[in-house]
């Protein structure tokens, strides 16, 4: 496995501001890795409201089940995340491990177990020894500090080659609020490692139902519009917490997601979600290119998204990108296999600004040299117009390289 940082990594990292109402700590519990942190504790000294979106897998991990069960309570005091073991497909032992971890965290923080949220990422099918948390959570609770976001992002990494952080600010009714977020993920499932995990916190004061609506709306064009290898983790978890500390500055609590005072906050939240999700794609295992695939003219937005994902998940499109090959024949193939309505003779395809195909055949004015120049860049925009309706969608993916195969196939050899 390569130890080098993705060529698509950010050139520099943003400075993450402390955020009122949340403290963070990390520790090395020795779950799997040596010489690195593998546990993150987030503490909300006063109850935060909470929203979550989870994997659609029919075989979810034990922590996903645990979070789903707690979510209706709508209140959070602690979050425990570990890397190195996914606690997935671990049967009754997995449920015992989540129960014990929640009990330890509740004791350390002084809250109810249904105010605790859990996430695990790492090996599937290996029992997680939750007694390792019991020894560290008390001390972590004492040490936890507001200025620790970058370290938090590092503790939850598995095959990630860089930590993923993002921050934005906005105003709600004239009061300044902040949104901080961290994420991990490199393949949908890395070598025995599960998962995309992401945790966002804001100091805004927003009721749980409104917070959930904001998150559910925001995830469609961001985290649910990216794909590394089409494989879906058993443990994908995206959570948003609102500490409400901005109430001290006079921010009136927001009860409904359609409250017009949320406009700027919603935009800032969506920017954080997009920033983090693109950072995950750009850390795709073995990636050397990012593809932004925009489909227009489909029968509906949903049809456009299915066509775009069919292109983004095609191994032949992704290997062509790795080879810097402006191979629009494979785009046609992927449109055709999506199952959505398409009229071959109305299709048009662009790489960057270069239209390579139009009206069902090669663009007579197409310059192969110009298209090849587009393919040489790290970021490759692909546009497909279906020519049938008004449906549009944009999705992001990375190329498929020998390094992806090496990361996922060679590690036992």
């Amino acid at each position: 496995m390569s130890g080098s940082v993705s060529p698509l990594a950010p050139k520099s990292f943003v400075s993450m501001p402390p955020l009122r109402g949340v403290r963070l700590a990390t520790a090395s519990a020795g779950i799997k890795y040596k010489n690195r942190t593998d546990v993150l504790l987030m503490v909300f000294d006063r109850p935060a409201t909470v929203a979550g979106v989870f994997t659609r897998s029919k075989c979810p991990s034990a922590p996903v089940d645990f979070c789903r069960a707690n979510l209706p309570h709508g209140s959070a005091r602690a979050v425990v995340v570990n890397s190195g073991n996914a606690n997935a497909f671990t049967g009754l032992k997995g449920r015992h491990a989540t129960a014990l971890t929640a009990k330890s965290a509740a004791a350390a923080v002084g809250c109810a177990e249904n105010e605790v949220y859990l996430a695990s990422t790492g090996v599937i099918g290996e029992p997680l020894d939750a007694t390792k948390f019991a020894g560290v959570l008390d001390r972590m609770q004492v040490e936890a500090t507001g200025d620790f976001w970058f370290e938090a992002a590092k503790a939850i990494m598995t095959t990630d080659t860089y930590p993923k952080v993002s921050t934005r600010s906005a105003e709600i009714g004239g009061v300044a609020v902040t949104i901080n977020g961290i994420a991990k993920g490199a393949g949908m499932i890395a070598p025995d490692m599960a998962t995309m995990l992401s945790f966002l916190v804001t100091d805004a004061d927003i009721a749980p139902a409104a917070l959930q609506a904001l998150l559910s709306d925001g995830v469609g064009p961001t985290f649910n519009s990216m794909t590394v290898d089409s494989d879906t983790s058993t443990s994908d978890t995206l959570m948003l917490f609102a500490t409400g500390a901005a109430a001290e500055d006079g921010q009136a609590r927001i009860e409904r997601a359609d409250d017009p005072r949320l406009a700027a906050f919603r935009a800032a939240l969506n920017e954080v979600l997009k920033d983090l999700s693109l950072q995950v794609v750009r850390d795709g295992e073995g990636a050397t290119k990012m593809l932004e695939i925009t489909v227009t003219g489909a029968e509906s937005d949903a049809a456009a998204k299915r066509i775009a994902l069919s292109i983004a998940n095609s191994p032949l499109v992704k290997t062509a990108a790795a080879g810097e090959d402006a191979n629009w024949g494979r785009i046609v193939m992927a449109v055709g296999k999506s199952g959505e309505m398409a009229d071959r003779d109305r299709l048009a395809i662009w790489f960057g600004d270069i239209r390579v195909a139009v009206n069902g055949e090669r663009d007579p004015d197409y310059s192969e040299a110009a298209a090849s120049d587009v393919m040489k860049a790290q970021d490759i925009p692909v546009k497909v117009d279906i020519g049938l309706g008004a449906g549009t969608a944009t999705v992001w993916t990375c190329d498929l390289t020998k390094e992806y195969v090496a990361i996922n196939g060679d590690y036992r050899s």
Copy 2:
């Protein structure tokens, strides 16, 4: 691109018998390749009945459109297949090319244009110069001979590393009949090359509707149960012709697919279909392993097949196979993402005879060494029991290797 033969190729090729009522010829028309044949002509001196199954792509090639239009006539006198150019996404020019090819073939053979069938495989989006056929079809018609099946299979290859042939015999009402078949295909779309093509001929006397029913039934557990890279060609074509020559031996024409006299023929046909489809998987681009994935206990056979294909198309399952890694966590992941009903705590998974997981967790008796031995073989059986119902399915795929990426990504570099 590697010039070596797939390690999964047959150790020897069957001897293909001549088949009454069909003659074959090949030629080098210089469509794309040098120093090899690239056109196949099949001639039926008396009209053969015909059945066909085609790509589900919404962007099919011009020859697929042409065949679909002729199929209702139910009668065939000539088949023209070329490699090197798929005549796909070629707009009006593509339709002109099929029309001209059909006209040339009809003139050479002395039949109507709606008795001609066409298939093309190769580059997408490049206009096909059909005038190249006009010069060779007359001579091919004269030279065509019954004992030419192996050469026929070679002429239609693109990135295939070996020709694919199969033959079986059966009796219909006490009269011996034969089924011969050829196929090509290595990726669903190879480097700019489209397609799986397969042509079967029998000397049995079977009416078109019965022939179509036999073929449509046979394709489900064979050609429609294999996947190399999940990508669907614009040009996939599978055709079955019945020359009826066995009528000379007293075989009574079969009008209905449910005629009990067809039992042995149906079994033989399904064997040819399975043999050819497995040969295509075993020539999968870059393949070093074949996986046979059997799902039992699903809610229905259709659900079992969707789960099996979710496993077979998972890049993480396929890279694990390349690395000889008995990674059952990725099987769980692929079951979970299929969208079909599955109860995590009832799942059981086997590699070969080694049960690695049961009741939603690692099998306590599982020997990693024994499972690793299974993974070292060329042919790897994977079995998953969902534990919910009686639905079963088996599909075949190959591993995903760096060589696949090289074949599909490196060829322009």
